[in-house]
Amino acid sequence: MQASRRIMSSELIYMDANATEPLRPAARGAALEAMALANPSSIHQAGRMARACLEDSREAVARYFAADPADVVFTSGATEANALAITALGAGRALLVGATEHDAIRAAAPKAEVIPVLGSGVVDLSALEALLARNPGALVCLMAANNETGVLHPIGEVGALCAAHGAALHVDAVQAATRALEDWLGLGAASIAISGHKIGGPMGAGALITAPGHVITPVLRGGGQERGRRGGTPALPAIAGMAAALAEPYDDGRIGSYRDEIEAFCVGVGAVSLGGGAPRLANTLCLALPGVKAETQLIALDLAGYAVSAGAACSSGKAAASHVLTAMGAGPLAGHSIRVSLPWNFDAAAIAGFCRAYQAMAQRALHGQRHCA
């Protein structure tokens, strides 16, 4: 409750949706209702009511991704869903992961071969084809949209290449779900991972959605919940909230026009837009300010009341140099970049203030540099 109030507070303009989308009111309502429910595995009436809620949620998720409800496994989040996909679908296959994948993938596949990206941030399809030729029947892990730049990979073309080489494709759709939906299963993906809180649901739930015919062996066995594919009592409030969030409208045209306005202004005062040349999410903007440390930019903007991020938020709270931007060949700019990701409820009235704060931050930092030189 406190965190949500802070995100909505008038003193802080929240521009870090790719870290977490503000809770959708419908998701909050669904989660609150589900909090009153019993354990969905219980046999009694109360248990059956909970099970109905769980299965309603499963059907909603399945409908959204054009999947069979039987192929939806609820997890604690996308880190677990991605790990489950790699463990279950990757067994006996070579692993190929994109160079700009999230750590949830990279850490779960430490020995994987890396699929390079082009300078635009888009996957290098010819390099992928060469890797597939050397590793027939591999499991390919590629995100639909990148969390730091918003750059979209051409999942349809990747899916066709995978099919031609007998490979399976796992798509991390954490950032793309609701923002740039495609029929990923129809495009050839064997599985999709999503996270509830990245789409406006509560934290604590995610899902692995598979195409028909894939057997998911569990990482956590426990009491055999989720048809033996994921043990442990499902986090019903978070799951119900996630399902409700999927049904909410997302106005990418409106969000995209705000993003473009901010981008044009910041580039005008010296910023470089990374990934701006590729198809990307409407809400995401990766801005490098040459010579100014990402940490300094982030702190200055936070002190001015604008919440942005640098790289992926890691547990220590420190901003590490971005592997995503490094893979794109950004060189030193990788340590000088911030991510602006507009939430679904972003208010256009905040654009002017952000631009002023960005300009003030840029001028002060660049001025200081001249003093040092």
Partner: protein, 350 residues
């Protein structure tokens, strides 16, 4: 005003943050992440950087101030840890805390404070900044037992203008701890940090071995005439003035033997009686916190180690220090010059 406080997670800098917040300033706490959970140094247990960062965060939460963690691992490794090892490999006895103050705290952190529009940087050092007629002066702390002024001699005058050291005025650490308790800070009873933060207690040879294994290669112990008295297991284990680890060599040389010279090229350690010392030493990279003296030099008290006695001396701006009484000076340590409680300047012993 907007003020940055360098917060280590210890009681001292936590109290500084509290004092600044209490005075009505807009406080920004910054914590340098210097090494990751002991990976850099193999340090484990209660004193790892992760726990200190956690403590700094919780103090900032309690004080309701902004707080950020700055990744300085690479910088710390390069400017502090590896130069520390390089110093030992060159036969010196470096002071990493001075390098850290110089490059990280009053270098990078101070720059960041300026970039963030702050008007001052406050730290938990036990020193006093006194406003003088010709700008800020650096003085010893009121609590002589806690005084850290020797470690801050390399601070430039411009940096000093920007700094605040509120703890230098307090009579005792007990007072600071009482303040922490009064502010409700959970670090009030946290033990003081000991020695060098990235070195496990008493075992700096491991660090040297990791960065400069050549400094742990065996060599000879000789007397002033060059006669071999014994062997040693690496010049990195010795410092000028040291009487330990000399084994039989010390007995052969007669009573009161100490290291008088370390030669990195031949890896020879020369020993001699404690009395065999000179009056004149030289320093490099001199930093003056006053106008540099003219041709005649100036009279001051020199302190050649952090906890050493004050030694009356004549100081010359070309780096010559002539002590009234002979003393052993270890290359790499600092010679810091005082008049009364005030620091005039200092340099690194050659």
């Amino acid at each position: 005003m907007r003020i940055v406080v360098a917060m280590s997670g210890g009681v001292d800098s936590s109290v500084v943050a509290g004092l600044m917040a209490r005075a009505g300033h807009e406080v920004i706490g910054l914590t340098l992440q210097l090494y990751d959970h002991g990976h850099a140094a193999g340090r484990k247990g209660a004193c790892c950087a992760g726990a200190d960062i956690h403590d700094a965060r919780r103090v900032a939460d309690a004080l309701k101030i902004s707080h950020y963690v700055i990744d300085s691992e690479e910088r710390f490794k390069k400017s502090v840890i590896s130069t520390f090892a390089d110093g030992y490999a060159a036969g010196q006895t470096p002071v990493p805390c001075i390098a850290c103050n110089q490059h990280l705290k009053f270098g990078d952190l101070l720059e960041m404070a300026r970039d963030l529009g702050a008007e001052a940087l406050a730290t938990g050092h036990y020193v006093r900044r006194v406003a003088g007629a010709d700008g800020a002066e650096l003085h010893q702390a009121v609590d002589a037992a806690r005084d850290q002024s020797w470690f801050l001699f390399a601070t430039t005058r411009a940096q000093l203008e920007f700094c605040r050291f509120p703890l230098g005025e307090y009579a005792s650490k007990a007072q600071v701890r009482a303040l922490a308790a009064e502010m409700g800070l959970n670090v009030a009873d946290k033990p003081d940090s000991q020695d060098i933060c990235f070195v496990p207690s008493g075992g700096y040879a491991d660090i040297i071995g990791k960065f400069r294994p050549d400094a742990l290669a065996p060599g000879e112990i000789v007397d002033a005439a060059g006669a071999v008295l014994g062997t040693h297991q690496g010049i990195g284990r010795y410092t000028v003035g040291q009487a330990r680890r000399l084994g039989n060599a010390a007995q052969q040389g007669g009573p009161g033997q100490v290291v008088t010279r370390i030669d990195p090229t031949t890896r020879r350690i020369t020993i001699g009686p404690r009395g065999a010392m000179g009056n004149e030493i030289r320093v490099r990279d001199m930093n003056w916190l006053i106008e540099p003296p003219g041709a005649g030099g100036l009279r001051a008290n020199a302190r050649l180690r952090a906890r050493d006695a004050m030694r009356p001396a004549s100081i010359h701006s070309d780096g010559r220090v002539v002590l009234d009484e002979p003393a052993l000076a270890a290359p790499g340590q600092a010679a810091v010059f005082y008049q009364g409680s005030r620091i005039l300047g200092g340099g690194f012993i050659v």
